[in-house]
């Protein structure tokens, strides 16, 4: 990485807009979103259900295409890339934590964590995965399948997987949405600890005010617009 990138925001958007056609009318989900996230920051995007949070997260990760506007990820205009290049970029700098964990049912805990490393053809996938699972407290459950793990344990595996490639930016979509509150708190603690240890930038999407306050900065979304 060149030095001049260090002080640049790791993520910034420019007039990001997403509209969808619902038969006879056009629905605006996101309108002219302008946001900037600096390296090492922890930012919460907060909003009620249907405010467009998940759509925004999808666009920030390059999983979806905007109607107009730009997203710059690590100084790269991601929508100028084709789908495969965006995927490669994701593999290099992004980590994900999803509400529904998104673990592959056919893979054991350790194999789920190894997967992004294997896709990126990184050596020592197994050592890294084992270390991370031990770090999240699942050293004894390496070879368990997702269905043999509790919800909290599954999300720990997902967190270990998110940090496996040592990403610059971690995107978390309602990470406690499927967990009871006590487990939710543990999971969030763990995620923030790892975030600090790895010096990762965090963008957290949630509808939970208390959770959003764990981040240094909150960005509020209502009816597809940022509310200052």
């Amino acid at each position: 990485m060149s030095d001049n990138r260090v002080n640049q925001p790791i993520l910034w958007t420019q007039a990001l807009t997403k509209q969808v056609n619902t038969g006879d009318q056009q629905l605006t989900i996101l309108q002219d979103i302008e946001l900037q996230v600096n390296p090492g920051e922890a930012v919460a995007i907060i909003g009620a259900s249907g405010s467009g949070k998940s759509t925004l997260l999808g666009l920030l990760a390059g999983l979806d295409l905007p109607t107009s506007g730009k997203v710059h990820l690590d100084a790269v205009d991601i929508f100028s890339l084709d789908e495969d290049s965006r995927a490669a970029l994701r593999g290099r700098i992004l980590g994900f934590v999803f509400q529904s964990f998104q673990l592959l049912p056919a893979l054991t805990a350790i194999e789920n964590v190894m997967l992004p490393l294997e896709l990126a053809a990184t050596g020592n996938a197994e050592t890294t995965a084992r270390r991370l699972l031990e770090r999240v407290g699942l050293g004894q459950r390496l070879h368990h399948y997702p269905k043999q793990l509790s919800g909290g344990e599954q999300q720990r595996v997902a967190i270990a997987r998110a940090f496996a490639t040592d990403p610059k930016l971690l995107l978390a979509d309602e990470p406690t949405g499927n967990l009871d509150s006590a487990t939710g708190v543990q999971i969030i603690d763990l995620m923030f600890e790892l975030n600090r240890e790895h010096g990762t930038t965090l963008v957290l999407v949630t509808h939970d005010e208390a959770l959003s306050r764990r981040c240094a900065r909150q960005i509020r979304l209502a009816d597809g617009r940022l509310v200052r």
Binding site: D84, R90, G91, F96, Q99, Q102, L104, A106, N178
Partner: protein, 836 residues
């Protein structure tokens, strides 16, 4: 990590987690079915060929009118084949003052290479019981002669008598009851004798100009025989020819070819079933891998990476599953063979490895054709699915995927059918069936769904479910319909084929021919039959004539110098007959049979002989009959069903044209084995009449038919098993959806039996639709294949509709309810949590 390693890991993980169960099972059953049919058919075919070769005394004969050069025997021995030689000539044998023109066979050690010569040391086989008949151990010793019953009777011989053969004397040591290469034709039907080749020269019978047939008998492994055939073909001179059983015996050729066609049909049916099962199973596979692919895409996997991963994944899967299938197929046919040894008297030869290679190839082609295209679409799963589960793949994608599968299947059909015509019929039939079933299924589902408001309880939910899963439902109905159609077609044809054989060669098929009956013997002969309570047979007039002109142009044997077979026909006399009606086992293929009472000089010719002597409809043929000329125009060409063993003629003319020429009569009739002594009485009462016994040949053909029928029935069992794989795959295809549906219904308070009834209604409708499609398709395809490919008298079977629909409803209902038991019993909360 390279793609290959990663894909193997993914494969291993999916396999271990049971994700591949349905696909694996479908593929393994399909390949093992194909391999079993392949291995078994291969062994049965070789066994049948070997058994029928007993009628020839060898697997292959090289025949020549000149002594055969050493190179033929040398090459055969080099290829590891067994050889023996035989010299056949006609000569007088004398016992005192009695002389008899006899066909003498001089044989070398090893004769016959296939089958056995059966002997009895009685003077007449009529008095020899079966227990007194024994298989010969070797050939006549030098100085000995073995003679048949006719020679024994006519020369009044008994064992130990000395006869003159040419300039030497030989001692009669045995009575020949049966010879494997006993000719059924009418050329060599006189008395016969066998001598040792060492005595041939001493007889002084071979002189310049003697009519001698030199034969080299060859037997061994089929591929070595084929190698020899390929090597020898270009070496043959004009005076030499090769004859295998198929060249020599049209009736056996017909039976063998039909059974081979049927067995390939059975293998084809397994291919169709496998394709249907794989298409269904892969749908489930794709759906279950949507999430995984979306996650991988979000984790940075490129489309290219996913593409290679799945290509390697499926090649490896195909190799492993096909390998297992082949091994299972081999084991299954071993069991089958073992089981059959009690039924089949022949020891089956070891199969070759080609069926395994075919099974492997078929498995790979099916998997890569049907599974890979839809699976490769997975690479375009939107990564956004990780956030929004409702995003998936469009159906257009998967539909396009099946096109490649169909193309692959068509190629397999044409290849497996080993017959372009049969392959094309089936391909067209199945592709039309898929299109029609698909369209009709879509329409019917819409119509039925429209009726759901009129329907009560369970039926309403059942119809609603079918409508909701319209694409899956159409696919399931089409796949199940195709599977059932393949099974029904096979059943229909199998029954027709076996029936047809049994009808054409019933247990009382004629087993004796009487030749050279004179006009004044017709009446006494009729009386003889009546006296002995035998059904008097129909007598056919026969006039012998030599073909001398075609369209006024003289013909001679030299004109056919390039074709030994044709040359022989021109040299010898044709048997002509007259008839006003077409025989039941004859079929006019060109022109038209004459009107009753026609006065025109018309002529009907058999299609094979017409081709051999190069004549066609409209040509005028002139025969020399006892010095007078007779001419007539070919007005129709007939095809003869040679399997029936009835009297048939190459050339037939209308009544009124040949009556003034010298004629003799010929007939065929059935004599039960217990009444065989009547034949001997007949020989004594009418010494001039030649009796030709074809009982041995008929017995062998009947036994062969019996074995083929059994083989066909057994092979059918495997096709049925493949049918179950389709059923399993069809039910499993919507299993995940059902588990989810059950969870929601039960969370909303539905009782298990309510759900169960709704699903039963859905399965019954699905099964009914499949059955309906299958019956319609099977009737049409069965007709086409039966009529145009196997040349059977196809009988339309109205029961097929009732049977098809019932099997569809009952089969799908039972399999469906059994298959969804687990979906009903999983706790709803667990499922709903899992779905998130």
């Amino acid at each position: 990590m390279n793609h290959f390693k990663l894909s193997l890991r993914m494969l291993h993980r999916d396999w271990r987690a049971g994700e591949l169960n349905v696909l694996l099972l479908a593929l393994i059953i399909a390949v093992s079915g194909i391999a079993t049919v392949g291995f078994f058919a291969d062994r049965v075919e070789s066994a049948l060929a070997r058994e029928s070769n007993q009628l020839l005394g060898a697997d292959l004969l090289v025949i020549s009118s000149q002594p055969l050069p050493e190179q033929y025997a040398g090459e055969a021995q080099r290829l590891g084949l067994s050889v023996s030689s035989l010299t056949k000539l006609a000569s007088m044998i004398s016992n005192g003052d009695s002389n008899l023109l006899t066909e003498i066979k001089s044989v070398t050690e090893g004769y016959p290479l296939r089958g056995r010569v059966h002997l009895a040391n009685q003077s007449s086989p009529a008095s020899a019981t079966e227990a007194e008949i024994r298989a010969a151990d070797g050939i006549p010793q030098p100085g000995a002669i073995w003679v048949d019953e006719k020679a024994m009777i006519r020369l009044d011989l008994k064992t130990g008598d000395v006869v003159d053969v040419g300039v030497t004397q030989l001692t009669v040591t045995e009575l020949v009851v049966r010879e494997p290469d006993h000719s059924v034709g009418f050329i060599n039907m006189g008395p016969r004798a066998i001598i040792n080749a060492a005595d041939l020269e001493k007889t002084g019978l071979i002189q310049e100009g003697s009519r001698v047939s030199y034969q080299l008998l060859i037997a061994g492994e089929p591929h070595a025989v084929q190698q020899f055939r390929d090597w020898a073909k270009p070496q043959l001179t004009k005076a030499q020819r090769m004859e295998g059983i198929r060249d020599a015996r049209p009736e056996i050729k017909a039976a063998l070819e039909r059974s081979e066609k049927f067995l390939s049909l059975a293998a084809l049916a397994s291919v169709v079933l496998a394709a249907a099962a794989i298409a269904l199973a892969v749908r489930r596979f794709t759906q279950r891998h949507l999430d995984g692919c979306a996650v991988m895409r979000s984790l940075g996997a490129s489309q290219r990476q996913l593409f290679y991963m799945y290509v390697y994944y499926f090649i490896a899967l195909g190799m492993i599953a096909s390998g297992i299938g082949c091994l299972l197929g081999f084991a299954a046919q071993q069991i089958l063979t073992h089981w059959l040894t009690g039924l089949v008297e022949t020891e089956l030869p070891w199969p070759n490895w080609l069926p395994a290679a075919q099974g492997l190839l078929v498995g790979l082609v099916l998997l890569l054709g049907f599974a890979l295209p839809p699976v490769l679409n997975l690479r375009s799963v939107p990564a956004l699915r990780v956030l929004r589960r409702d995003i998936g793949l469009s159906n257009a994608h998967s539909m396009a995927g099946y096109l490649l599968g169909l193309a692959a299947l068509s190629l397999l059909f044409i290849w497996k059918a080993q017959d372009l015509k049969l392959g094309l019929y089936i391909v067209t039939g199945f592709i039309s069936a898929i299109a029609i079933f698909g369209g009709l299924g879509w329409l019917l589902i819409r119509v039925l769904a429209g009726l759901r408001h009129q329907a009560g309880g369970a039926w309403r939910y059942g119809l609603a479910s079918i409508r909701r899963r319209a694409v899956s439902s159409v696919l399931q109905a089409v796949a199940l319909g195709l599977g059932l159609m393949a099974l029904l077609v096979l059943t229909l044809i199998q029954d027709d084929l076996i029936d047809d054989w049994h009808t054409s060669l019933p247990p009382d098929a004629p087993n004796h021919f009487l030749v050279n009956i004179q006009a004044d013997q017709l009446q006494p002969l009729q009386e003889f039959f009546q006296q002995h309570a035998l059904e008097p047979p129909r007598m056919y007039p026969m006039v012998r004539g030599r073909l001398i002109k075609i369209n006024g142009k003289e013909v001679s044997a030299e004109d056919y110098a390039d074709d030994l077979h044709a040359e022989r026909h021109i040299r010898r006399e044709f048997n002509l007959t007259w008839a006003d009606e077409l025989e039941a086992d004859n079929q006019v293929v060109q022109g038209a049979w004459w009107d009753n009472g026609t006065q025109k000089a018309e002529l009907s010719i058999e299609e094979g002989i017409a081709k051999t002597i190069r004549v066609k409809l409209g040509d005028e043929l002139t025969y020399d009959i006892a010095g007078s000329h007779f001419s007539a125009k070919i007005t129709n060409v007939r095809k003869i069903d040679w399997d029936t063993f009835r009297v048939n003629f190459f050339v037939v003319v209308p009544p009124g044209l040949l009556e003034n020429y010298p004629a003799s009569y010929i007939t065929s009739f059935y004599v039960p084995p217990t009444e065989i002594h009547r034949v001997h009485e007949l020989v004594k009462a009418f010494p001039n009449i030649l009796v030709v016994d074809v009982a041995t040949v008929i017995g062998q053909v009947q036994q062969m038919i019996q074995q083929v029928s059994q083989a066909i029935e057994f092979v059918f069992l495997f096709t049925l098993l493949a049918g179950f794989a389709v059923l399993y795959a069809a039910i499993a295809a919507t299993q995940d959806e059902r588990i989810f549906e059950a969870a929601i219904f039960r969370a909303l308070g539905a009782r298990r039996e309510q759900l169960s009834r709704a699903w039963a209604a859905e399965f019954a409708i699905l099964g009914g639709l499949s059955g309906l499609f299958a019956s319609a398709g099977a009737s049409a395809l069965g007709y086409v294949i039966g009529k145009h490919v196997l040349h059977l008298n196809y009988t339309f079977n109205p029961w097929i509709w009732a049977v098809g629909v019932s099997i569809g409803v009952i089969g799908v209902l039972i399999a469906g309810l059994l298959g969804t038991r687990s979906a009903l019993s999983s706790p709803p909360l667990l499922t709903l949590r899992k779905i998130g």
